[in-house]
């Protein structure tokens, strides 16, 4: 490199730097806008006490977001964050002594516990090459179980000096201690980023294969990343212990979705390679400010989730609009030169005419089929093991058991199609819970007064589900928002609508037809079982034998290749979210028929299972690989396992641990032995 030729003018040097840091800059901008807004609308501007309080309140979220950022930078995903915070919280609250020595020791142990959980994650992800989302999901269940074993109810005391040291003032009336903690962590991050480890972190997130070829030790770096992330959650747990000065086994759970929102608002890109921890800290505090804004504005209770969802989307909006609106990129895309040789025509033809088993082109049909089987079969093998255990424990399994299992599985079988299709394209739909809730409430509510409203209520509710998905998809495609943020925001908006429609207490009953389908009898079994069998066949055909199905896989394998091959990527993604919306709405209808009526929040328990079954069924969370019948196997496995456990008096803590262990065992069996 010649110094003379390469010497850039100051502007040239400055501009790319600015562009490169756009994510961080927008995160800071969003934060400042919110800060100014709070000060403008509040009666009095924020004083030191407010700043101190806000910094203590947001420190837990910020530290957890830093940990999550590390994982996301490597292209991973860590669902265990909230559970680790709870575990560390209860361990500290039940063990902390009153001497400074004990306090220091337990703080270090807390961070160590976090790092240890991170090491378990890292071991499975890095050494065994398992999918981060499902490993961390399983570890999350196990960690929640361990937390309940430590204490099954809130309690424990924390010495006042522990609280004062971590959440008080480092310099009285000038510098709150939590900001010092964060600053120290960020300095460590700043140093780390400039080491070989830091470079490797970004390289792996950008392209793990390429990183491996350049001599970066991918497995070791990934392993280290999960340990560091775990340590950060551990520190967050220490912080929340200081802030609340007690232990609560449920304290971390609701933080999980906020952590992701903070990371995404902070400008870190899901999928890896771009972003950083500083932005996440600003993202975390932006979320805290939103709460204050809602409070000052005195938003009515039912609207608060709506407003919060909108602010979240708005914040991501300004963060996501890098380099102009994505719509411009979509328009410009076809004019990009086809840089990969071979020409678009030939490659596209191979890809789109093959069966959709997500195999690379030119592999013989039988091999492709074998691979699909290999990913789908472990779930079924585990399922039959659980069946055998059930039979052994209860003296055989009869039609009553199988009927109940089929009905209980039907909800997730339907959800798996929508969530599965979204995941196949590399997205994620977090709006499932309240799409279910709203659909159930609407179908029951519409039924009031008329003898049987099913004929018009079902199509109407399904259309509402489709419309929800359309908005999600539009947000993702046209406005380039991260799927997690759009669908999370949408979930809040739908919750608000459900509350407003029902006035807080849903009324009405599911139409008799739907109730009969879910609880009646037809040819000896519950009618929904017949319908679900038809559904499985149709869903399987939809993903494997239709142009839409092939496009889904094509988009999941590579958006760019798919686009060059003539696939309308944007339309496919929007359709996939619409499918997910329709499936979630259908589940809402089914649940209302199952229970006879709808209740608020009845979809809450279906979000993580909907993701788990898809992944346990062999689907790659980063998209492109997966098979619907495999997902059905995942549903059967998890439902059978829950049924087995529910029939016992095993304490909830042990159930969670067993549940996590089985999910982990299933994915270990799924391990991609031929992984490159």
């Amino acid at each position: 490199m010649s110094a003379v030729a390469a010497a850039p003018t100051p502007t040239q040097r400055f501009m790319p730097e600015l562009v490169r840091r756009r994510g961080l800059l927008t995160a800071i901008l969003v934060f400042i806008v919110l800060l100014v807004a709070v000060n403008l609308i509040a009666a009095a501007p924020m004083g030191y006490f407010d700043v101190s309080y806000l910094s203590a309140g947001g420190a837990t979220l910020a530290l957890a977001a830093i940990g999550q950022t590390l994982v996301i930078l490597t292209g991973g995903f860590d669902l265990s964050a909230g559970a680790v915070i709870s575990l560390v919280n209860v361990i500290l609250a039940t063990h902390l002594g009153t001497t400074p020595g004990s306090e220091l020791m337990w703080a270090v142990i807390g961070i160590g516990v976090g790092a240890a959980v991170g090491a378990v994650n890292g071991l499975f992800v890095a050494a065994l090459r398992l999918q981060p989302i499902v490993v961390t999901l399983a570890v999350m269940f196990v960690t929640q179980g361990l937390t309940l074993l430590v204490t099954d109810k809130p309690g424990g005391t924390v010495p006042a000096d522990f609280t004062a040291f971590l959440t008080g003032s480092a310099i009285p009336n000038l510098l709150p201690a939590p900001l010092v903690v964060l600053a120290v962590v960020l300095v460590v991050w700043g140093v780390l980023k400039r080491t070989r480890f830091g470079t490797a972190l970004y390289a792996i997130g950008s392209d793990a294969d390429a990183a491996g070829f350049t001599g970066i030790r991918v497995a070791r770096t990934t392993f280290m990343t999960y340990i560091l992330a775990g340590a950060a959650y551990g520190l967050a747990g220490v912080m929340v212990t200081a802030q609340t000065s007690t232990g609560d086994p449920l304290v971390g759970d609701p933080l999980l979705l906020q952590i992701f929102a903070a990371v995404v608002i902070g400008g870190t890109v899901l999928g890896g390679g771009r972003g950083g921890c500083v932005g996440s800290v600003f993202g975390a505090y932006s979320l805290m400010l939103i709460v204050n804004i809602l409070l000052v504005l005195n938003v009515p209770a039912y609207y608060s989730t709506v407003v919060e969802g909108l602010i979240l989307i708005l914040a991501a909006f300004s963060g996501a609009a890098h380099g102009g609106l994505p719509i411009a990129r979509w328009l410009a895309a076809p004019r990009l030169p086809a840089r990969r040789g071979g020409g678009r025509g030939a490659a596209a033809a191979v890809m789109l005419t093959g069966t959709a088993a997500a195999a690379p082109p030119r592999v013989p049909w039988r091999t492709r089929h074998a691979e699909a089987l290999r990913y789908a079969v472990p779930a079924y093998v585990c399922f039959f093991i659980v069946l055998a255990v059930t039979g052994w424990m209860y003296g055989g399994i009869g039609p009553r058991y199988l009927g109940a299992l089929a009905v209980l599985s039907s909800f997730l079988i339907v959800l798996a199609l929508g969530q599965g299709a979204v995941i196949l394209t590399g997205g994620l739909d977090l709006s499932v819970p309240w799409t279910i809730g709203l659909a159930g409430i609407l179908v029951a509510g519409f039924g009031q007064g008329s003898a049987d409203s099913a004929i018009w209520a079902i199509p109407l509710v399904l259309m509402i589900g489709a419309a929800t998905g359309f908005v999600n998809g539009t947000g993702v495609v046209i406005f380039g928002l991260p799927p997690i943020v759009v669908t999370l925001g949408m979930n809040g908006i739908l919750q608000g609508i459900a509350l407003l429609y029902s006035g807080g207490t849903p009324s009405g009953f599911a139409p008799p037809t739907i109730r009969w389908v879910m609880t009646g009898h037809l040819l000896g079994i519950v009618p929904v079982i017949w319908l679900i069998l038809i559904f499985i066949v149709l869903a399987s055909l939809l993903l494997t034998r239709t142009a839409f199905g092939r496009r889904v896989y094509a988009v999941g394998n590579s958006q760019r290749v798919a686009r060059l091959a003539g696939v309308n990527v944007g339309r496919t993604i929007i359709l996939v979210y619409m499918l997910s919306g329709v499936c979630a709405a259908l589940v809402g209808i089914m649940l209302s028929g199952f229970s006879g009526q709808a209740s608020l929040g009845m979809g809450d328990d279906y979000l993580l299972p909907s993701i788990a079954v898809v992944v346990v069924g062999g689907t790659l969370i980063t998209g492109g690989r997966g098979n619907y019948l495999g997902m059905v196997g995942g549903v059967l496995l998890l439902t059978a396992l829950q049924t087995l456990l529910a029939g016992t008096t095993t304490p909830p803590a042990i159930r969670e641990i067993l549940y996590g262990a089985v999910v982990l065992a299933a994915v270990v069996a799924l391990r991609d032995r031929t992984a490159t």
Partner: protein, 373 residues
Amino acid sequence: MNIFARLATALVTGTALLTGAGAAAQAKPYKVYLSMSYIGNDWQAEAENMVKAMAASSALKDKVHLDVQVSGPNAQRQIQQINAMVEAGAQAIVVYPISPTALDPVIRSACARHVVVIAYDAQVTEPCAYDVHIDQTQAGQVTGQWLADKLHGKGNIVVMTGVPGTSVDTARTAAAKAVFAKYPGIHIVAEGVGMWSQAVARTELSKIVATHPWSSIDGLWMQVGCLTATSMEHEAGIKDDALKPCAGEGSNGHRVEMLAAGTAVDGAHGTYRPMGLPSISYASPPYSGALALKLAVEKLDGKTIPHDIVLPLPLVTNATVQMCKTGSWEDMRGGCNVFQPAVISNPGWFAAIFSKDTPEVGLQAALHGTPEH
């Protein structure tokens, strides 16, 4: 810098200007905040309605300016909210605490600034706060004992718990299990995690009866879910007079089912009808928030109130269940405790709304936030 950031700023400041004008508060009434948790269920909706009705009652409406905030299930956020309420000049904060312990520091700082903090339904451990609640251990004990007596000390029972990891669930379940442990003839054959939700109870119970047929179950102890259990028994072909005794829950539907078969009611349908279901009904009463507000105002008026207010357990048995005519407070004082299905279309709605201490609120308060007077 970019148009959307600017748009965001404009929107936020625009809204600020609009609402800022209206928020100018008058000086005289007490500034009281209600900090709620999750609002996505019947109980919370009723409790909120009753608090609002209390604030609108003739006794309080000129004395109180009430603002309602919701924090969701997130303790961190409730801490932040309570602090912001103190900053905004709250004189009293009525709070449904998400965690009995995590709020302690913020409550302590509120107390230090002479804010009256009063928690309803669930307790907080911080002693400077006031608590209005039922005795959860007693709730588990009484209902467990009822079931044990009903089964004459022997039989297979199914237990449906609440949300694991909460003090309320742990106390109720432990107390009931302690009772069952005294009877060697009573066996808990399955334990479901019911999450205090009819929908969850339905799936959990479906899983349980997949491996334990109804014929092998003699009784049910459920924190929430008797309503669901009755429906499922009917679907399984069990007749009214053979329904399993079910101890638990205070929903209106459940109490209607407890009425003697043949009792005339308006709007009955499906399993939402009198059928003489053997049961004992209890609930954390949703009026506790309204009572908390009333007590907070008394405290602000300079009266002394006890720190720990334990409400009488609202127990209803087949002998005491009685249909209300109007649902007014006077009507309920006469001993009625269940409402017509024609009026309460949602059987999951909580019927335990009567307290002798809150003549300001009756059925209309729980339904629509309208006070009695």
